[in-house]
């Protein structure tokens, strides 16, 4: 029989192909992600993936790990507010442990902040961060970080502290279980970069970036371009025209006589210069406060100190609370910025301190002559051509691919930038800062306010008005930092001639010239970012970008009027809703309305405002109307200026006393010349109409400040699900807890009150929580207290035994 072989029956190809393709696609999605999706495998894995973060959201009762270089065992006990109390045998061990616990709670924030300062965000976030990185590097921050880190002496205490901090962070990263990897990394498909001293420098530079840029000189230039130099100088004066400086002078607010010239013709040279110096978009007003009373003005007979730095609010918070204890050497409690191995604001058994920003002018620009208008290699200096330092910059993407390149140029002053077809160099003290660490570490050992100030002499950037109080009852204040001296007439608020060294900075202020006061006769001290010295006492030009004086006036008024201050009083003042700005402006509005009874809408507005208590409380229903009226008033009054330019309220006050000034005339009404009251009446009516349009009739309940005034606390990556937006808070423009009317994200980033009695007592709060893990309660557990203006008692045990253990971490030397 012939057997004819038949072909083998094979499984159909299509299902096999479909199965293979499906599996390949799933594996690809699992390992690499697709489009906006992160790699799904490491994200969804129930053990190592995002779900694992649920298991690590709460601190384990007991944990242990090892850290390279530890001198001895370190015990970290977490209290009921998740604050780590670090008990170490040496200071370097305490710093190692601080690095470890900060990484444990805030690893992604550490990484992100350092990258933001070093211009390497693209490596984490991709091309979306390219412009931010470019700006940072073009300002010279990446170069400065490298130089400053290199300049740290190999055997110095500062490098040792930075290395110790790095060892702590890296020990956590190295020993971290997969399931502990922060959610943000999983969404980005990334891992944390190891820490090193340069990354701390980058974090510091980022703080400098946030706190030392001011733009009033650019605003003045833009105003001069529109209305001439004389009017612009009066609208944006170098000195605060209404002031109560931090260095007590006359003891009462002083109002400088101001005459605002009428708008002049546009100044073409100012316009040309303004084109060279593009103005960044208007920044919201940051407002920090601190104040202290001597024993004679406190009910308990102990010095009291309060501080509330206002910054962009984020989740996690910029601050991390910690307590460092080294027996007989260090006992320091307060808040640190993740990335910085020191307590920045806080207290010891002997002293307490808090900062506000000085707002000094620390960045100058020079117009340079270069040998090529497109790709210069040399610049002209004192008649000779000097080679530019060229620095290639490469921007890497998350996968190490190049997504941008730049060639940066530097003169002996700093980075050179091409703006409007010309080349402008820049010098900025933040890029040359070197003295923060010695200062912070040494200050932790001070026993008196004077000792504390002495050790902080080395602090250079960003300059801070440092308020300090001690247990002996001394209170003192000093605006501390590096303030440059300029050549010529000494001013730095204009474009300087780059062709000669004669226009370079000539030195720095001496410390004894800094604005300061110790144990003043008035028994209290306060700062709120105002011009720190009376111009009559000011030895050199310090700056001209002074915030509105209202907070300073209010807190000084409160301090003058209470001679038995308590910690509770100070807590209440930190969220004081009263508005001296409204107090100052309202009489003019009401008088104008009384003189013009025929305008029905203005009368309705005036009636509501007359009944207003001028407080920005949550249930207040007139604050929203007042703000609408002020907005309408500004738009009409400053119609000669670019629409994004609005002089401060001292200029407005000066014009309110000059009812026939040409500034009151509204340009769009040809053939008619308006006077002050015409504009005030129109603003009242327009404000009323706008408020009714936006929120309904007055009695509807929709005018409540809590429904209008919300702030947004964004997650660092602006992920709405991890943010807490639309938080109703009391306070408004120019109150002690200032914030913009709607959609702002600034506020009191940390509130602290310290009583320096026989036993130091302290209270504090920040909006957020200690942990960056959004699954746990510790992510935002303090937000509710903060919103209501409450403070939490801060536990300040002398030893581990005094503290009820909520969770414990033991760190041992890694062999």
């Amino acid at each position: 029989m012939l057997i004819v072989p038949t072909s083998r029956k094979r499984a159909p190809l299509a299902p096999r192909l479909a199965g293979g393709l499906a599996l390949a696609g799933l594996l690809w999605l699992g390992a690499r992600g697709g489009g906006p999706l992160p790699p799904l495998g490491p994200l969804l894995d129930p053990w190592r993936g995002a779900w694992g973060l649920a298991a690590t959201a709460n601190l384990p009762k007991h944990a242990q790990d090892s850290v390279r270089g530890l001198d001895g065992e370190v015990r970290v006990q977490y209290d009921d507010r998740a604050v780590p109390h670090i008990f170490a045998s040496t200071e370097l061990d305490a710093i190692r442990a601080l690095g470890y616990v900060t990484a444990r709670d805030r690893l992604f924030q550490l990484d992100l902040q350092a990258r933001a300062g070093g211009g390497t965000l693209t490596e984490l976030l991709g091309p979306a961060a390219l412009e931010s990185d470019r700006e940072v590097r073009r300002l010279g921050m990446a170069r400065a970080a490298e130089r400053l880190a290199r300049a740290l002496p190999d055997t110095g205490a500062e490098r040792a502290a930075l290395e110790a901090y790095s060892a702590g962070i890296n020990a956590y990263i190295d020993g971290m279980a997969d399931r502990e990897l922060p959610l943000e990394y999983r969404l980005l498909g990334q891992r944390p970069a190891p820490w090193g001293p340069i990354r701390t420098v980058e974090v510091l530079l980022r703080m400098g970036y946030t706190l030392t840029q001011n733009q009033v000189e650019l605003e003045r230039l833009a105003a001069a371009a529109a209305v001439g130099d004389a009017a612009a100088a009066a609208l944006f004066p170098r000195h605060a025209t209404l002031q109560e400086p931090i260095q007590p002078s006359a003891g009462e607010p002083r109002r400088l006589p101001v005459t605002i010239p009428p708008p002049g013709p546009p100044d073409p040279s100012a316009a040309a210069m303004a084109a060279l110096l593009p103005r960044p978009s208007s920044q919201p007003e940051l407002g920090s406060n601190n104040w202290a009373v001597a024993p004679a003005r406190s009910r308990s007979g102990a010095a009291l100190l309060a501080g509330d730095p206002h910054l962009d609010l984020t989740l996690p918070s910029i601050w991390y609370e910690a307590h460092l204890v080294v027996p007989n050497a260090l006992d320091e409690y307060g808040v640190t910025i993740p990335g910085l191995p020191a307590i920045v604001l806080g207290f010891t058994r002997d002293v307490a301190w808090s900062f506000t920003n000085v707002e000094a002018d620390l960045m100058d620009r020079w117009l340079e002559t270069v040998d090529d208008s497109v790709r210069p290699l040399r610049y002209r200096l004192d008649g000779t051509w000097v080679p530019l330092e060229l620095r290639p910059e490469v921007y890497l993407g998350p996968k190490g691919d190049t997504i941008g390149v730049d060639t940066l140029r530097f003169t002996h002053r700093g980075p050179l930038q091409r703006v409007g077809g010309r080349w402008v160099s820049l010098r900025w003290t933040a890029l040359e800062a070197a003295g923060q660490w010695q200062a912070f570490r040494a200050a932790a050992h001070a026993r008196t306010a004077q000792e504390w100030l002495n050790t902080m002499r080395a602090f250079d950037s960003p300059p801070q008005t440092m308020l300090v109080a001690d247990r002996a009852g001394t209170i003192a204040i000093r605006s501390t930092g590096r303030f440059p001296l300029r050549a010529g007439d000494g001013y730095g608020d204009r474009l300087l001639d780059g062709s000669t060294r004669a226009s370079d900075w000539t030195g720095n202020w001496r410390v004894d010239e800094y604005p300061q006061a110790t144990a003043p006769a008035q028994g209290y001290l306060a700062s709120a970012n105002q011009e720190p010295q009376d111009p009559r006492d000011q030895p050199h030009y310090l700056g001209s970008d002074w915030p509105a004086p209202w907070r300073a006036l209010r807190i000084n008024h409160l301090l003058r009027s209470d001679s038995a201050v308590t910690p509770e009083t100070m807590r209440r003042w930190q969220t004081d809703p009263a508005s001296p700005r409204a107090d100052a402006l309202m009489p003019y509005l009401l008088r104008a309305a009384a003189a013009h009874p025929a305008d029905t809408l203005a009368q309705r507005a005036a009636a509501l405002l007359a009944a207003w208590d001028r407080r920005y409380t949550l249930d207040n229903e007139a604050a929203v109307l007042f703000e609408a009226v002020v907005t309408a008033l500004s738009a009409r009054l400053w119609d000669e200026l670019p629409s994004d330019l609005s002089p401060g309220s001292p200029a407005l006050l000066a014009l309110l006393d000059d009812p026939h000034s040409a500034w009151w005339d509204i340009r769009s009404t040809k053939g008619r010349v308006e006077q002050r009251d015409d504009v005030l009446i129109a603003a009242l009516a327009e404000g009323y109409v706008a408020t009714v349009r936006d929120y309904g009739p007055p009695a509807s309940g929709a005018w409540q400040w809590s429904r209008v005034h919300r702030i947004d606390i964004w997650h660092l990556l602006h992920l709405p699900a991890l943010s807490r937006n639309g938080v109703a808070v009391s306070g408004g423009p120019s109150t002690l807890s200032p914030s913009s009317v709607t959609g702002g994200s600034h506020g009191a980033s940390w509130r602290m009150v310290v009583e320096l009695g026989p036993e130091v007592r302290a209270w504090g709060i920040y909006p957020g929580g200690q942990s960056g893990n959004p699954a746990g309660a510790r992510y935002d557990d303090r937000l509710s207290q903060w919103t209501h203006g409450e403070l939490a008692p801060l536990r300040f045990p002398r030893s581990a035994a005094e503290l009820p253990i909520r969770a414990e971490l033991v760190l041992r030397r890694r062999q």
Partner: protein, 111 residues
């Protein structure tokens, strides 16, 4: 072996394998399952259900250790999914991996 027992066994293997190695073990286990137990005519279903059961078991353990529901809600919100969406995706993913691998393995094994 009864179906339920097979699913339970594959679930246990998936849970253990995921803990020891990682998510990528799921398709390997499914492929091996088909090869080792060619008699399981419903191998695709077994591995899909077993993978879901295995990961569900791990999620249960995680939930005992911390706020898994809150974590799931947060992840759902980030990914613009309904509240339970992240949990659902977490369970669909291993099922799809196991199912696709089982289909492929069975086809490859068939004469």
């Amino acid at each position: 072996m009864r179906r339920a027992a097979r699913v339970a066994l594959f679930g246990a293997l998936t849970a253990g394998g995921t803990v020891v190695t990682g998510w990528w073990i799921v398709p390997i286990l499914a492929g091996l399952w088909v090869r080792v137990l060619p008699s399981d005519r419903g191998a695709v279903g077994t591995t899909m259900l077993g993978a879901v059961a295995g990961w569900l078991l791990l999620l249960g353990i995680v939930a005992l250790q911390g706020p898994a529901a809150a974590l799931g809600a947060v992840c759902s919100a980030i990914l613009h999914l309904p509240r339970w969406g992240f949990l659902l995706v977490t369970l669909i993913f291993p099922a799809a991996l196991a199912g696709a691998a089982a289909v492929l393995a069975r086809r490859a094994a068939s004469p």
